[in-house]
Symmetry: C2
Subunit: 351 residues, 2 copies
DNA sequence: AGACGCTGTGGGAGCGCTCCCATGAGTGAT
DNA sequence: ATCACTCATGGGAGCGCTCCCACAGCGTCT
């Protein structure tokens, strides 16, 4: 029996047409009212609105999408395994900003993880199907082919964290250079002499900028940069631990460390403890992100706060603009589509 | 000039019809192949697949949704302000499981926050428009009208954490009773005499169950339950701090605390420190969730681990089933649609 | 008075798909 | 050879909307 038919019938929702009949107008007019066109007389508009209210009419999005060729949805694409997504509190906060800003609109948010190969292929299909009006790209490595794919498909995109200084996609970022610099300036001001840094992966532009900030602060203070004090990490806790251990090995006289993420700082702290160094008495420690971990560490961690939520909001704003004036690529210039937001150093007991 | 028309033309994607022509078959046949119907000969199927590959055909979801009355999308609805969503690592991990399981399918995940009033109304509209095939409801309080709305709209729904022992919606939960019990049994085994608990909100069923587990463990050990040792919290850090402070006031002789969440345990720790109590020498501490905070606390926190990721997977499984046999409510019975997963106690230095 | 332009409106023509009915070919039983 | 079925297939009829053309009504300019 028509299980399907029953379902279709029982839950039938009113259509544009029915609203039109009830309001005594044509379909086109109802459509105009629904979409806020100004070319409708006040009387007609009122009549239509009454009919809409009476029937409890809600537009059918599929039909709209089909006819108008838009989806009113954007995707937040995370090109990392889900695991990492949440190891870094960064993403969660960004999501918060994105959600908040999007709540102002009719747009919907799709969350897509594309860590593995299979997910990657699925994502490509998905994008090819133009199932979203725009894409938010988070945490992209320099060599990732995704941005090019998106450009090729002509899908409006905003990237969080430019891939290089000559990023072509609209982007939102915090001032990594200034952030790194402020942390190191603080350590200098605290009288530290041998300041090291545990860096992020070199293929992440933001990580590079933090290192540059580290160098700048030292140079401005008239100090020489000891390259052995710059040890590579990978944004993981274990990586931070290893980097710190190595650092203690190479430069046991180190008396301050700027870790490019709180998570790595947590790892560094373990290594310091294991080596019997006290924080901050023997070694001052500063992190980056001002995450939950920073506040709960013992001692609480000095950390560079990024306005991540605000960054999320800014990304949505940019993306909505991109979608709005989505026009032939040629007519776009090198717009001022690179937003950079200020950081703030949260000083705590670790330094 | 026709920016719109240009766009529509330039990026034109092949349609079913075009695939049919190229393969030399009818539209219906192509549709059958695309949708994996068995009623197609091997030769035809091969021809169609070749044509699909050659044209790079990708089905238009909007058209499909319109014609078939389904969306191939499900929503994860979080009826809390975004803020809380991430304060509890719980959600993040759940999202991970959901994402992983969903990656096996063609379904898409929509993330919807419905904390405020405006978001609530928007959500209602959204659901009324049947823009998703099913809904995952996370962290629902007992009095929330959302589940009823969903039932009324006849939208397949799975709830994480039943609202009461007579939950009618399919649900996935961890064994809160067993979890609470195991934590308290552990504290008893450690020789603690005055064991208190800081609870979650009373209108959260899971929180109730944890209290019940606390009571059960004490009773089974032949101990009397001192009601003054049961202090209400609200799953926040500050709430945990206050509860602990109050506890120290009322029952200074307390020598162990089971907090119904790690976040509250972190708050309790602050209060204990402030009062000069050592962990675990003076007071043993156990939490719930086995979150990042537990591992980074000083000392590391004993905590009840829920298989949250697995719970996310289970929710998706249940929901997909619900969607598959979505039939008149009458024909559904009190199915075995209540999944309960086992917890595990992670013992660390705090106890 | 006629020509012209506006504004508000109605409704046809699709958008690309699924559903389902009709059709014809193939198979085996009578 | 005939009938009854089954199976693969083609294609019409929508799904509910937006876009846009056509047109009526009215004021304005010459």
């Amino acid at each position: 029996m028509a299980g399907h038919g029953t379902r279709g019938r029982s839950g039938r929702r009113p259509t544009l047409e029915e609203v039109a009949v009830l309001a005594g107008v044509g379909r086109g007019t109802v459509s105009r009212v629904i979409n806020g066109s100004p070319r409708v007389s006040d009387a007609t508009r009122a009549a239509v609105e009454a009919a809409v209210a009476e029937l409890g009419y809600v537009p059918n999005t599929a039909a709209r999408a089909l006819a108008a060729n838009r989806t009113d949805a954007i995707a937040l694409v995370v090109p990392e395994p889900e695991t990492r997504f949440f190891a870094e509190p960064y993403f969660s906060e960004m999501l918060r900003g994105v959600g908040a800003e999007l709540a102002e609109t009719e747009m919907q948010l799709l969350l897509i993880f594309a860590g593995g190969d299979r997910e990657r292929r699925r994502l490509a299909q998905y994008l090819a199907a133009h199932r979203v009006d725009g894409v938010l790209l988070v945490s992209v490595h320099a060599a990732d082919p995704l941005p090019d794919l998106l450009a090729q498909l002509d899908i409006p995109t905003v990237i969080s964290g430019p891939r290089s200084e000559r990023e072509t996609l609209p982007s939102v970022d915090s001032d990594n250079h200034g952030g790194g610099r402020s942390a190191v300036e603080h350590l200098i001001a605290r009288g530290r002499r041998r300041i090291a840094t545990i860096t992020g992966p070199f293929d992440v532009y933001g990580a590079q900028r933090r290192i540059d900030g580290y160098r700048a602060a030292l140079r401005d203070a008239g100090r020489e940069v000891d390259e052995a004090l710059i040890v590579p990490g990978d944004f993981t806790e274990e990586g931070g631990r290893r980097a710190m251990a190595r650092l203690l090995d190479l430069r046991p006289e180190v008396d301050a460390v700027f870790a490019a993420s709180d998570v790595m700082a947590a790892g560094a702290r373990q290594a310091l403890r294991a080596a019997g160094r006290r924080i901050p008495e023997d070694v001052a420690l500063a992190g980056y992100d001002d995450s939950v971990i920073a506040r709960h560490m013992d001692p609480p961690l000095t950390s560079v706060r990024q306005p991540i939520e605000e960054m999320g909001r800014a990304m949505i704003d940019l993306l909505l603009e991109e979608i709005a004036d989505h026009r032939p690529a040629a007519s776009r210039g090198l717009d001022r589509r690179q937003v950079v937001l200020r950081t703030e150093l949260m000083v705590r007991a670790s330094s």
